[in-house]
């Protein structure tokens, strides 16, 4: 195990129950800074639940989450985003009527204005027919991010009008706009064609190269095995294996969990 300083996210015996059903049962895992850490498992294994608990949308029944040495329990999702933890959604959740540029600028909002009152006073301070200085830098950053993800030509398109693949990219751009140090990607390749998946592979690697740690939930095993540094396998809310791609591919418990499914590990 790497030393404690290198740990970005530490999950300690996390449990989440829905009624009598354990979506997560005492799951522990550590994510090393700078790694692409994949989270795999059959449908209903609890991967998305884990994401929702880590990002604060659901609260855990027991267990603890440490992000860069700070405990995260009970803080609201927006507070966690301020700490440097961003996510995308499995079922795309964009703001349908905002343009791509505006969507990314919403992500930047929390970095430009630390309080609502600050943002309100900016509404009053700006001169007529002129925009605030923050607005200009925010727009420049947003355009840069859209270029980074190859969406530069779709700046003024409404989020709802974008293609499925572009919507996934826009979700990533919006998450990156919050300047995260840990990015949770929930099935970014779902619904993409092989060519788009290849592009995504490159994009995820480039995001990692910016020094952002990534946790990736994904069903596309070729993508996962190709780019992950570390893989955690969940089944029925329990961790059944952890290791690098070679170890996981050889692990009998993983093969068992996927038995009968048409998955090439």
């Amino acid at each position: 195990m790497p030393n404690k300083l290198g740990i970005c996210l530490a999950i300690d015996r996390l449990s989440k129950r829905f009624g009598g059903f354990y979506a997560l049962n005492e799951v522990s895992m550590g994510v090393v800074k700078g790694h692409i850490h994949a989270l795999i498992g059959p449908n209903g294994a609890g991967k998305t639940t884990l994401f929702n608990v880590v990002s604060g949308i659901l609260s855990a029944d027991s267990g603890g989450i440490m992000f860069e040495g700070q405990p995260l329990n009970h803080s609201r999702p927006s507070k966690r985003t301020l700490l440097g933890l961003a996510r995308t959604f499995q079922n795309i959740r964009l703001f349908p009527h905002l343009t791509a540029l505006e969507t990314v600028m919403v992500g930047e909002h929390c970095r430009s204005y630390h309080s609502v009152l600050g943002a309100v006073s900016d509404v009053f301070r700006q001169l007529p027919f002129q925009e605030a200085r923050e607005e200009r830098t925010m727009r420049a950053n947003a355009i840069e991010l859209l270029e980074f993800l190859g969406l530069a030509d779709k700046c003024n398109a409404k989020a709802a009008d974008l293609s499925y693949g572009d919507q996934r990219k826009l979700e990533m751009a919006r998450a990156l706009a919050t300047q995260p140090r840990l990015l949770l990607l929930d099935e970014p390749a779902a619904g993409l064609n092989p060519h788009e998946t290849e592009e995504l592979d490159a994009v995820i690697t480039r995001i990692r190269d910016r020094g952002i740690t990534i946790i990736l939930v994904e069903h596309d095993m070729r993508l996962v095995m190709g780019i992950s540094d570390q893989i955690t396998v969940l089944n029925f809310g329990t961790k059944i294996a952890e290791g690098n791609p070679e170890q996981i591919q050889r692990d009998p418990a993983v093969v068992e969990a996927y038995l009968g499914e048409d998955v090439q590990l």
Partner: protein, 319 residues
Amino acid sequence: MFGGLIDNYTQSILIFTGINIIAAYSFFAPFKTGQVSLGQAGFMAIGAYASAIMTQKMGLPFALALPIGGVVAGVIGVIVGFPALRIKGVYLLLLTLGLSEIIQVIILSWDYTGGAQGFRNIPFNRHTMGWCFGLIVVLMIFFARLERSSLGRAMDSIQQDETAAEAMGVDVVRTKLFAFGTGAAIAGLAGALFAHQTTYVDSTTFNILLSIEILTFVVVGGGSTCWGPAVGAFVLTLLPQLLRTFRDALELTPVSWTNFYPMNRIYDFFYDFLDFENAKRLIAFGVILIVMMIVRPDGLLTRDSMRWLSLARWRAKRA
């Protein structure tokens, strides 16, 4: 103001149009964060009573009583905003509806302000017109800037997907509270202006029908741009007056054209239809509303129509 230029009747119509526009903006502020409130008439009542107590009982000038009315309504709005944070949609409608019922009952049973007999002898403010339109200009500038600011975008994002907005670091709780409180304060200002124009208010003045009317202004005008509420309130307040003008025009038709069957029946029908005092006018109003909702469900002005109208587009076209 404008005393010599327009007669009293026109002036009072313009004043109530102005108050309606302000009330429409009071609905628009929380609506921008996805909160639909049927309590705006209640907040108007708070503003009206608070400011009237200041002028009539305490003897303060209107210029001081007006902001006090707004602040009192705003503070109560923020307090009510806390439970309103947790609930959405129909349930929020019911909560705000309940709030305005509570306010009505308190007013009805509060002897200090006249109870069921109503609050009488509120000092008449001769300058309501100036205050009204000054305030509208300030509100329009504020909301126009809000629309182009980061805060405005954050509000839009909350309206469209609250969970995603929260996950992107938008402080949903404070932003929604700010919006709800601002809406309540603006409603309080509208109520204060109203009370000092009519000089008499009671528990039935600010009833649920008024709240629904305010909602209609924004829905008809368009809730996605800052100009929608003003246009909606303007059109819907003046529409009955316009129908009345049509009736007056109808009276100009020569009698020889309409004094035989079936023209006399047709004439009578339209005359009744457009009569200001006649219930059938409300039918015309209702028909127009229904047609509106079918033809333009997003309101008269939408984000797209504003983009179409924008200066930038015309500049780009010419270049």
